[in-house]
Symmetry: C2
Subunit: 350 residues, 2 copies
């Protein structure tokens, strides 16, 4: 955990008006936010279109380790993982609520740092923090965020619309967040053996940032809007490309063929994974927390998509009876996609 | 905790498809629920009016004790406390999301019982469970619920609209949930000393139910609608009448005068509190978890409100400079209202 000067124990929080302290900086970015923090419920105006709701919980020791997670980044990430779900419906997040349970080990200043990160994400993505809950916990820190978004009725993209011959596309690159996690876990182990050792993270900024401060792919949704593109199906990649492809295939009742050589992996990810003797493709398929978008578009959009920045075509949709496969690099053999996400199956969003 | 036959550890949950097991019974009650469980986000149609959002977290050891809390009731209560916040805005809850973090000590069957309670509440209040998250925790059980509701634009009731001379009203009766908690805590202490002792709860059904399975005051909101009443201000009583009155006074920038003899307290609550030498008025003012509605209406509605079932007029709004007071029974002296809710100030919703 971060070092703090004179940390204020939460037990003294009555004196300080915790909620006032945590929420006094809140700015409102959206006209649709009618009543924000400070009443029984937030009030949101929604004249037309659909509302979208997504929720996610981050638990200390399961989703993050306070030894190497800066609190500000933690707050930022807790927001981003939820916004990613809203973007994955081709929608725009507008409001969030945040609930935090914290043990007495967490100081008021630590909570303020988390809220700084939350507000930084709110500012960057122009979403409004409209409500929440702070409570004590017997042990550990838990952050639960709910995001509310809006979308045009005829533009909501579900997981279930992929059609045969559609192109399968991913944004950005994959595997970096998992590589960053391996690095952090290794340095933690080193630190626990010798607390004078300084971590050696030189040249590893990219993979570390992907793990500690991921971003949601707002610019892809903006690109769709600008180009008049509505994907046939979409999902965000929080649990490894492979298991997300299988979700998409199941929901859409189709088959899948992707090409190993097309999977986008950043060179620094490949370098970082060499230290751990990990195969980059395996990590891209099964590592988690990339928060890139996986989507399908009709074949007719091939040229438009091919020239787009940060989008890679990795394969195409097939008939269901052809199954879900990857064509390997070099040998060109078909291997079946497996659902072995990085997280236990206990960690499921629905 | 409940006894279980052959509890299934959560670590084996991959085999069972936990989310499928927990959500297979889900029914949809509202046309506005376009996409529920099973995609990145829920999709909600909202043609007119405002959306309302409220969120609340229940933490084991802080908000509930599994020794005496039936899991089904726990699930029910986790929903109800959120719906209460939506009703407190004069709105109708329509959808909820539920996030649960559970340690390995909690079995799959235990989670199913919690979900049974959640679905029972959904059925009773006709709200749809549209999304969520299940994850592991290192210790303890945490349930975070977000409720989404709708209201006519011109009927949303905030805390801030109370005007001088308005009548101050409460629904139902107060203090029972706190009395129930005292009973349960006493029997827990007895049980911990002698595990063969059976708890003696005869004649205490009402206060126990108020603690373990509270209800939200939907019928009051329905009554307002039927009678064409829009309160000037409203708040739900989750943290004791006194601190809610102070919230309302502060938000509305007014003073308050209530009468001790008018505070509605059930006779069984008074009887239960005698065992603990607790003053019923003190408990009504400072005990928590009643989930009744505290609201203000113009004086002109006096007759309509007076004849309504389950609503009690307890005082009136004064000018701010007259302060916030209670006129005591018998002696008729003015005492200042204190914010000493049952929960630590750490537990704050916003």
């Amino acid at each position: 955990m971060q070092e703090q000067n004179d940390p204020t124990p939460l037990s003294r929080v009555g004196e300080f008006g915790l909620i006032d302290r945590l929420t006094k900086q809140i700015k409102i970015y959206n006209d649709s936010t009618i009543v924000g923090v400070g009443d029984d419920a937030a009030v949101i105006s929604n004249e037309k279109g659909f509302s979208l709701i997504s929720t996610d919980m981050l638990v200390e020791g399961v989703h993050f380790d306070l030894l190497y997670t800066p609190l500000k980044h933690l707050g930022y990430k807790a927001v981003v993982v939820n916004l990613s779900d809203i973007y994955a419906m081709n929608a725009h997040p507008k409001q969030i609520t945040v609930s935090i349970a914290a043990s007495n080990r967490i100081s008021v200043e630590a909570l303020e740092e988390i809220y700084e990160g939350i507000q930084l994400a709110c500012e960057f993505y122009k979403v409004d923090l409209v409500g929440g809950d702070t409570t004590s916990s017997l042990s550990g820190l838990i952050i639960s965020v709910t995001a509310i978004g809006i979308a045009d009725k005829n533009k909501v993209v579900k997981r279930s619309g992929a059609k045969e011959n559609d192109l399968i596309c991913v944004s950005g690159d994959l595997g970096a967040a998992f590589a960053g996690l391996q690095l952090l876990e290794r340095e933690k182990a080193v630190y626990e053996e010798n607390q004078n050792m300084q971590p050696d993270f030189s040249g590893k900024d990219y993979v570390l940032e992907r793990q500690l401060k991921p971003e949601a792919r707002k610019e892809i949704i903006d690109f769709f809007e600008k180009e008049g593109i509505v994907p046939t199906a979409m999902i965000d990649i929080s649990d490894g490309l492979s298991s997300e492809l299988l979700h998409l295939a199941k929901s859409s009742n189709v088959g899948i063929q992707i090409y190993e050589e097309k999977i986008p992996i950043d060179p620094t990810t490949v370098t970082a994974l060499e230290d751990f003797n990990l195969n980059p493709t395996t990590v891209a398929l099964n590592g988690g927390e990339d928060y890139e978008l996986l989507f399908t578009v009709p074949l007719s959009l091939h040229n438009k998509i091919k020239s787009a920045p940060n989008i890679q075509i990795i394969g195409h949709i097939t008939d269901k009876k052809e199954g879900t496969h990857m064509v390997t690099k070099g040998s060109n053999t078909l291997v079946e996609l497996q659902a072995q996400g990085w997280q236990s199956k206990m960690d499921e969003e629905y």
